[in-house]
Every structure is written in structure tokens, then in C-alpha cells.
């Protein structure tokens, strides 16, 4: 690992000015489970590491019916899946934070880091997208919000400008009769990277017979996490008893642009997109029915 400067600011303002001053090769550090690994392997050469775990705003979890859920960018996975309110209301988020790495990794890894790292395989990103989460960003030129489906721009690239920090993630309070689920296919049972991942959320009508709206997002089948609006739209207004789930799966497959790599061939991945989309939707619908 190449030598680097390390600072740990205590306030948001200090963190932003350190990030801004650090220039091109400055990086924010949350859990470090991506950043440190990449620095050690020489894949990411960083001159200034700004540890943002000491900043209050990046460590909050707040939840209310009115404002929904806000999770600080550095909050590690274990705090998220152990939070009673989140467990009750955001099962689709717990799905992903409880499978990232293993217990050790979950003690450090954050949702914010998962999103900023912008891996096509990032599990947390998928849950954020299907739940309609937005990223709260602050930089030298002020604060702004970015929809999580627009956040990742290329493998390892995100929409943040130099000097900008991801402060927190806002997840809206689910509508009534809503359900969500994320699942992935991996060769072993833990500590693995999604060969394909699929997240799905649905909102059912009052009778719980048909689908009012749906969101579907795919991992590891494109250069970025892939929000498939068409697949969700195909479900709108359809009855849950119909073959709409199959149709949505076909839309998902059409949107996917997987490649061959050591984790699987493109063909196999396409096949998995179909299988997992159906499974994700099935569970999401069940959860909505049980609301």
C-alpha cells in the first residue's frame, strides 16, 4: 500500500473542507471494506483519506411515519438490521444489509460506502433503488439530493462532484400494502459477490388483488446497478394472480446486458435474471399481502 495522509474530522463542515482540499486523490472513508482493500491491491491510489465516521450526520438512524427513514452514510450494516423499526418496516433493506459479506464485514460495511463504491454487484444499492431512496449530498457548493437509481454512473464511478460527500440516505415511508425483497445468486452461501441480484418492490391496491406500482432493479448485469422501469411498469394495474410476474421477468431479461466473466456466462446470467425476478416479486407480493 502506498503511503497516504489520514484525517478524521468531527463535523460535516470539516469533512467537506478536508475532502475539497484533498483534491482529486482524496477519498472519504466509512467502513473501509471496499476502500482499504482497493488501496492495498493498488487498484485505487489515494493520497488523502478522510475518515467520515466521526461526523454526527453520517451516523444517524432516524425513522418517523412522516419523514420516513434516514440512515447516515457511515452507519454499518449491523446497526441497520438490528434496528427494530427498520426490521418492521423495511424488510427489503434488511435483506441486503444482512447478506453483505459476513458478520465481521457487517460490523464495518456501510450502505453509503456500498452506494458510493458503485459496483454493479453492490447488494445494498438494489434495495435503495427499489425503495425509492434518495442520496443526501453536501459539498462546498451546498446540499443536493440525487435519486439512488441515478447515483452510479459507471463501474466504480458515481455522481458526486469533487469535494462532495454523501451524508445520508432517505428512504420514504412505504405506502400501505407495500412489500419488497432483494435476493441474489452466489456460488457459495456467504462472503460472495452477486452473479446476479434482483430487487423488487410492489404496492398493492386496497383489496390486495392487483399491483398499483412496482420497481425492479438488477445487480451484476450491466456496468451499473440497473433500474428497470419497464419491468415495473409492466406490472402496473395487473392482477397478482395473472401472468404479469412472468412478463415482468421478460422485461428484466430484455434490459439486462450481462457479460461473460469468471463468475458466470452472459447466457446463464440472463437465465438467472428471469428466475430471480420471479422469485423476488413473489416474496415482495407476499410481504405486501401480509402487511
Amino acid at each position: 500500500m502506498k503511503p497516504f495522509e489520514y484525517v478524521k474530522p468531527n463535523t460535516l463542515a470539516e469533512a467537506i473542507s478536508a475532502l475539497d482540499a484533498g483534491g482529486e486523490d482524496a477519498r472519504a472513508l466509512s467502513g473501509g471494506t471496499d476502500l482499504i482493500v482497493q488501496m492495498r491491491a493498488g487498484r485505487n491510489v489515494v493520497g488523502n483519506v478522510i475518515d467520515v465516521k466521526g461526523v454526527t450526520e453520517t451516523n444517524v438512524i432516524s425513522h418517523s411515519k412522516k419523514d420516513g427513514l434516514t440512515i447516515g452514510s457511515s452507519v454499518p450494516c449491523y446497526r441497520i438490521y438490528n434496528d427494530e423499526g427498520i426490521k418492521k418496516t423495511y424488510a427489503g433493506l434488511v435483506d441486503s444489509v444482512s447478506i453483505i459479506g459476513g458478520t465481521g464485514i457487517q460490523g464495518r460495511a456501510s450502505l453509503g460506502g456500498n452506494l458510493c463504491n458503485a459496483a454493479p454487484s453492490g447488494d445494498g444499492i438494489q434495495s435503495l433503488i427499489i425503495l425509492g431512496a434518495v442520496a443526501n449530498v453536501e459539498g462546498p457548493n451546498g446540499a443536493r439530493q440525487i435519486a439512488t437509481e441515478d447515483f452510479c454512473t459507471a463501474p466504480g464511478q458515481n455522481a458526486l462532484n469533487p469535494g462532495e460527500l454523501l451524508v445520508s440516505l432517505s428512504v420514504p415511508e412505504p405506502e400501505s400494502n407495500a412489500g419488497a425483497h432483494y435476493l441474489r445468486f452466489i456460488p457459495r452461501n456467504e462472503m460472495d459477490i452477486a452473479v446476479v441480484g434482483v430487487g423488487a418492490s410492489v404496492v398493492l391496491d386496497a383489496e390486495k388483488k392487483s399491483i398499483v406500482s412496482a420497481r425492479i432493479s438488477l445487480a451484476s448485469v450491466a456496468p451499473t446497478p440497473l433500474f428497470v422501469e419497464a419491468a415495473g411498469d409492466a406490472l402496473k394495474g395487473t392482477e397478482i394472480a395473472s401472468d404479469s410476474v412472468e412478463k415482468a421477468a421478460i422485461f428484466a431479461q430484455e434490459a439486462a446486458r450481462p457479460i461473460d466473466d469468471m463468475r458466470g456466462t452472459a447466457d446463464y446470467r440472463l437465465h438467472l435474471v428471469g428466475v430471480l425476478t420471479k422469485r423476488a416479486l413473489k416474496v415482495a407480493i407476499e410481504r405486501a399481502e401480509n402487511q
Binding site: A41, G102, F185, P187, R188, N189, E190, M191, D192, I193, M262, G264, T265, Y268, H271, L272, V275
Partner: protein, 741 residues
């Protein structure tokens, strides 16, 4: 049953405390005054001519003490038996990862910077990764001079990339096939896999003021290494001393000289001690992984399930060199024919040079490859005949007086008992859910023989020191020696301390390998303890003037016959005026007439939409003698099974354009705890074993049949067979689709 006090007890490991407290010193921990770091520049090409190596900028870097290229080690070749490996490539590189230049510098960073400053101009050449291509008559030769290499078992009539062939068999194949009602031919492949030990290869070489070559190395056969190095660099063995060090895991992979010859040259040129530790990227690309194989089995069988003929050819991809296997070929290949009474057989194992990572030993060298093919094949025949695989095996397995397919005759044969025990424990035959299946496979292995020595020295404080030239690489040999010595001297295990010897201390030790550790070390420890005990009794008799022929050692006391008259043994040690000790040298290389059977049964569930396999349960039955330590014994079983699960389901070093592409443990998958199902073990007790305690080996047998059992369970679950390891979800799905068209 004989009752013991220490033997058979769950004694904690002799090296456990040092290891868990971090005090155990491994080679990489060693610090010598003035020690330098060695680093290697490796070829990015699978095959290329080296046009030019420019080291001038590296030489000029402050802190650099030596920069070597193939010119500095020209003509030197080394290996475990076949000497075909150069410390640094000369005219050509033969695999991606081959060493091209090396540096010794004052820090790892400087060494790395120096490596980065070396410029190499290559002329890339066509490369052959596939052994089947490499075997063809028109393939270019990787080693045109193979017939001149030291250690080649048999000169080749016509030089080719196939450099060694071994065969086994009996009867007349034609007769056997003529009798058969059915003939089945299938081909099986197994991948390149890494042993995945925690500690990478590491060594320190230091030429001291007496010109002795002092070495510490992650190598489990120090005396063999001494011979190999002496022969390679042309010095007397006496000049070389291997010093004891802890070895952080082996699984067969820590028997090669690896970087020791090169680091010797770095130490020679820099006139400093030099340490080299491979990183794991280097391990994955350039150590000595398990050989990939392509095996074709052709069998003949009668309608009633009697096997009449068995023909098998195993092609091992040796990679660019053959120097990392002590037998030049892998003898375990013969197990493709298994412990079955087949009258007409022929098994052929060949080693082929290709432009890929040189293969080495890993847990049962040749056996997991052969058994995957053989036991997969047996299951398929049974299913074709409509006979249950268990019944089919029981019909063909050897019993007392039967000769195995490749001609071995054993006594006290427990093959059927072992399989039946596994089947009971696995509840074989009980109903299964949809897409769930059970599959079985068998193996047999007798521990190898060898030579070792043990010294037992009584200490004045009432404890005992046991010396051994064996370096415990994690399998528990120190604990074995401890228990034997404690047992024979009537002590508790905590009174015995193990201190390893360096190679000056005794004449030879074969080293760990071939499941020989317990067989050889337990006999040597027993003999040394007996000798030490006689010395103690003699000393006691001298002090007391007792008749030496009638003394008894019990509870730390020497008793006069059956009387109550005794003398404390520490009093004897303190007052006899000389050191009380016993030594032993054991040479036991005999081919054993007893073997150890293993039967394993996997239970899997298959997700037919994704092809994913979930292992639900795994049962192992072992035919054992006296178990010296139940914790260590069970540890070998569980560890072997887990490693076998990895081989079966996920492990593979993937080679793209001649280069290993998955070079981290993120990409090279080995099982995690979450992948381990319930493991069941049954032990079938046998009275016949080796040595004073009737022991059998357990280190390798546990690992060799696992993949075949899982492949067979998959077929039982969903009716399709995967012929290549690892059995990935994608392969299962492809097989399912094929079966549906």
C-alpha cells in the same frame, strides 16, 4: 482392547498454545541481522522468448544488494526428483508467473521498486495450455532436452511433451470386454486447484561465517530439501543446514524447494541473509497446485452387475515443469480402478508438459482425480443396469482374499463393513424429497513408509523433552510424539515438551507426506521412550543397588519389583550423574498388507431452476486402527471433507490466455462455514494396524472420494450427471437442459 492413559485421549495439541497466542515463529517472522527482502519479477506471458533483460536501473537503486537474471543461475536445475526447474528463466519462459529476475534489497518496498525498474523484452510465442494438444505429435516441445534431465525415470524413445507414463493392471482387457454385456466409456475432467494453506511459501537463506548454508523454509521435508538443494547447486549436503520453524499449513503443497534455490543465489550474491515470502497472488499463479486431469474410463460389466474389464487413462497436466512431485508421476492415479475385484484391468497415468502453472502435490496426489472418475463411472454403470449403487458396489468390492483391480492383496479387509457403516449412518435408502439425492464413493489408502528418529531426554525437573526432526505442518505430529512418549513413560502429556531438531542432529528423516507421519513417528517415539526408560531403570538400580531386571516405572516412580519400595524418578535424574536419554532410528518403508477404507455419502438438494446444489448432509465412514487422538483424528476427517467439498463444488484456478485470472480469495472460492453441512462420522474398528499401537493413516483418505460422492448424489437427485469438476450451478443447469431436449 488395551487400555491406555494418554494414547486415545483427546489431548490438546502440543503446538496449540504457541499458535493461538501468536508466539509460534514461522519463517516469515524470522529476523536476522542485516537481512534483506527478496522479490521476484515474473513473466506475464505463458510462453515467450526473452530477448533482453535490463537490470541497470534496479542495480542503481539505493538499498539494492543483488539483482539476478537467468545468466546468474545458468544451467542450474532443481526439483524434488526430476530436475527440470530453473531458479530463473534463461532463454524462454514457459508459463505466466515464471521467475525472470530477482532482487534482494533492504526493505520489501525497495525490493518491489527495484523489480518495477527491471525491463524485460519478450518475444511472445504460441502457447499450449491444453494437455491433449500438447500430446500431439506436431506440438512444439516445451523441454527438448528432457532426456538429459536428472531424475527422469525412463529415457523417452522419442522426445515429446509426455515425459512419464506409469501403468498398472492385470488379466487381458480384450477377454474382459469380450465377456461384457455392456461397455461404457466416459471422460471426466478435474480442475487446477490450490491447497489454500494460510502461510504462503517462505524461506530465509543465510551463508554463515563458516560458509554453511543456513536455511529456514516452509518445507515439511527438510532432509529431502537438503539433498535436492545440494544436488542442484553442487555442494556437499553437510554444508547445508535446515533449521526448524513452524509451517502454516501444507495439504501436500509444502514439499517443494520452491524459492529456496533462488534465495540461496540471492544470499550468495548479496552476502547477506535473504528472506522471501510469496504473496498470495504469486501463490495462485506460480506455486504448485493440484494437477488438472482428463480421465477416460472404459468398463465392461455383465447384466448381473459383475465387472469384467476396466480400462482407464489419466492425463495429468503437469504444467511447465515436472519438478514439484517426488514420484515424477502421481501414483494415486491407480485408484481410478478402486478396491474392486475386476479381473481384467489396465490403468495408465501420464504427465504432459504445457504452458501453465507447474503442478505439485495436494492431499492424496492423483487420488481425488482418479476417484472422481472411477467412482462417478461406477455409479453410472449401476444406474444403467438398474442396480442400486450401494448393492452394485457391495457386489464388486474386495473381501478377504480378493485382489483389487490393480493387483493389491490386503488382509483384514473392511471394505464392505465400511460402506455398510456409512450407509447406515447416512440412512441410505430412506425416502427423500423431490430433487434431493444421495450418492456414495469409496477410497482406500495405506499410510506410506519412511525413516525418522526421536530422542527422549529426562530433565531434572521431572519433565521430559522429546526431539524430532519432523516439522509439524499442522497435522499434529508433535502431539503424536508427545502422547507416545508420555504413555510409555507413564507421564501426563503436559510433562513432555517437543523440541524439533535441525538437520545436523540426525542422519535422515523422510518428512511429512503420504499419511506417513503417525506411522513412522509413533514407532520412533515408542522405541526412543523404551530406550530412555531402560536407561532410567538402569540409573535407578545403580543408585539403589537394585537388580535392574526387575524394576517398574509407575506414577513418576521407579518401584523395586512389586514391592512398595520406590525411588522418585526426578531424584534418579538429579542424582545419577549422567544424562538419561534414549534415541531411536526407525526405517519402515515396507508396503503394508493392511489398508484403510473410506466410504462417503453425500446428500444434496438441487434447485432445478438455477442448478444450484445445496449440500444437506455428509457422512464419512473410516476403517481405523487405534485412534491416537480423537480430536486430531476428527479434525483430519472434517478438514478433508471440507476441502473435498470445495473441490467438488467451487474451487478452480481459472486460466485465461495462459494466465490464472482469479488470484485472490475473493475470486478463488473455497468453502466458508456457511457451506458446510452437518458432518457425520462413523469409525469401523479394525484390530490390524501398524506399529506398537495398531494405527492407520487418516490425513488423505478423508479428502479423496468427496467430489465423486457429491457428483453421484446430484445424479440421484435430478437424473443428470456432471463429468467435470467443480460441479457449478451453471454446469448442472446445462446438463438439465441437455437432458430435456
Amino acid at each position: 482392547m488395551i487400555s491406555y492413559n494418554v494414547i486415545g485421549q483427546p489431548i490438546v495439541r502440543s503446538d496449540g498454545f504457541e499458535k493461538v497466542t501468536g508466539r509460534a515463529q514461522y519463517t516469515g517472522d524470522l529476523k536476522l541481522p542485516g537481512m534483506l527482502w527478496g522479490k521476484v519479477l515474473r513473466s506475464p506471458f505463458a510462453h515467450a522468448r526473452i530477448i533482453r533483460v535490463d537490470t541497470s536501473r534496479a542495480v542503481g537503486l539505493p538499498g539494492v544488494h543483488a539483482v539476478l537474471t537467468g545468466d546468474d543461475t545458468r544451467g542450474v536445475r532443481y526439483g524434488r526428483r526430476l530436475f527440470d526447474v530453473p531458479p530463473l528463466a534463461e532463454e524462454r519462459v514457459l508459463f505466466a508467473g515464471e521467475r525472470v529476475a530477482a532482487v534482494a534489497a533492504e526493505s520489501m518496498e525497495i525490493a518491489q521498486n527495484a523489480i518495477d525498474l527491471i525491463e524485460v523484452e519478450y518475444d511472445p510465442l504460441p502457447a499450449i495450455a491444453d494437455p491433449l494438444e500438447s500430446m500431439k505429435g506436431d506440438a512444439f516441445l516445451l523441454h527438448p532436452d528432457v532426456n538429459d534431465y536428472v531424475g527422469l525415470p525412463k529415457k523417452l524413445e522419442k522426445v515429446s511433451n509426455v515425459f512419464v507414463t506409469n501403468t498398472w493392471g492385470k488379466g487381458e482387457l480384450d477377454t474382459g470386454f469380450a465377456q461384457a454385456d455392456h461397455i461404457l466409456e466416459r471422460t471426466y475432467t478435474t480442475p487446477l486447484v490450490h491447497q489454500a494453506y494460510l502461510e504462503p511459501h517462505s524461506c530465509v537463506v543465510f551463508i554463515d561465517e563458516d560458509q554453511r548454508i543456513q536455511i529456514w523454509a516452509a518445507n515439511k521435508a527438510p532432509f529431502a530439501l537438503r539433498q535436492q538443494l545440494a544436488a542442484a547447486i553442487g555442494v556437499d549436503e553437510d554444508r547445508i543446514r535446515l533449521n526448524p520453524t513452524y509451517i502454516g499449513g501444507d495439504f501436500g503443497g509444502k514439499g517443494s524447494p520452491m524459492d529456496v534455490p533462488l534465495v540461496y543465489f540471492l544470499a550468495l550474491h548479496s552476502k547477506r541473509p535473504v528472506r522471501m515470502v510469496m504473496d498470495y497472488v504469486e501463490e495462485f499463479t506460480a506455486a504448485n497446485p493440484r494437477h488438472p486431469s482428463v480421465t477416460t474410463v472404459r468398463s465392461g460389466v455383465l447384466n448381473d452387475g459383475t465387472l469384467t474389464a476396466w480400462e482407464a487413462r489419466i492425463i495429468f497436466n503437469s504444467g511447465a515443469y515436472g519438478g514439484f512431485k517426488p514420484g515424477v508421476n502421481l501414483g494415486g492415479a491407480r485408484d481410478v480402478a478402486g478396491p474392486y475385484k475386476i479381473p481384467h484391468t489396465f490403468v495408465e497415468a501420464i504427465q504432459v508438459y504445457t504452458n501453465s502453472v507447474p503442478g505439485g502435490h495436494m492431499r492424496g496426489p492423483g487420488e481425488p482425480q482418479g476417484i472422481f472418475a472411477g467412482e462417478s463411472h461406477l455409479d453410472e454403470i449401476a444406474r444403467i443396469l438398474g442396480i442400486d449403487p450401494l448393492e452394485f458396489r457391495l457386489k464388486n468390492l474386495v473381501g478377504e482374499g480378493d485382489v483389487t483391480a490393480t493387483g493389491s492383496l490386503y488382509r483384514d479387509v473392511k471394505a464392505k463393513e465400511t460402506l455398510e457403516a456409512a450407509s447406515m449412518a447416512a440412512r441410505y435408502g430412506s425416502p427423500l424429497a423431490m430433487n434431493v439425492g444421495r450418492g456414495m464413493a469409496m477410497g482406500a489408502r495405506a499410510p506410506g513408509g519412511g525413516e525418522t528418529h526421536v530422542g527422549v531426554i529426562f530433565q531434572k525437573d521431572g519433565t521430559v523433552v522429546a526431539r524430532t526432526p519432523i516439522l509439524d505442518q499442522g497435522t499434529g505430529t508433535y502431539t503424536t510424539v508427545n502422547q507416545v512418549v508420555a504413555e510409555e513413560l507413564g507421564l501426563s502429556s503436559d510433562k513432555v515438551q517437543i523440541i524439533p531438531w535441525n538437520t545436523d542432529a540426525v542422519s535422515f528423516d523422510t518428512g511429512i507426506g503420504g499419511s506417513r507421519g503417525t506411522r513412522v513417528a509413533s514407532q520412533a517415539a515408542y522405541a526412543a521412550a523404551q530406550n530412555a526408560k531402560q536407561e532410567l531403570l538402569r540409573a535407578a538400580s545403580e543408585i539403589r543397588g537394585w537388580d535392574p531386571s526387575n524394576l517398574v516405572l509407575k506414577d513418576n516412580k521407579v518401584y523395586k519389583g512389586n514391592t512398595e519400595d520406590y525411588i522418585d524418578f526426578d531424584f534418579v535424574v538429579q542424582n545419577c550423574g549422567f544424562d538419561i536419554q534414549g534415541t531411536s532410528g526407525i526405517e519402515d518403508r515396507e508396503q503394508l498388507t493392511v489398508t484403510a477404507f473410506c466410504a462417503q455419502i453425500a446428500e444434496v438438494a438441487v434447485d432445478v431452476e438455477t442448478g444450484q446444489i445445496k449440500l444437506l448432509r455428509f457422512t464419512s465412514a473410516h476403517d481405523v486402527g487405534q485412534v491416537l487422538n480423537p480430536i486430531g483424528h476428527q479434525g483430519q476427517i472434517n478438514g478433508g471433507v471440507v476441502q473435498g467439498i470445495g473441490y467438488a463444488l467451487m474451487e478452480e484456478l481459472e486460466v485465461e490466455d495462459g494466465r490464472v485470472s482469479n488470484v485472490t480469495f475473493g475470486d478463488y472460492k473455497i468453502p466458508t462455514m456457511a457451506d458446510i453441512p452437518e458432518l457425520r462420522t462413523v469409525l469401523v474398528q479394525s484390530k490390524n494396524g501398524v506399529g506398537p499401537y495398531n494405527i492407520k493413516g487418516i490425513g488423505e483418505n478423508t479428502n479423496t472420494a468427496v467430489a465423486a460422492a457429491i457428483a453421484n448424489a446430484v445424479e440421484d437427485a435430478i437424473g443428470v450427471r456432471v463429468y467435470s469438476l467443480p460441479i457449478t450451478a451453471e454446469k448442472v443447469l446445462a446438463a438439465l437442459r441437455e437432458s430435456n431436449v
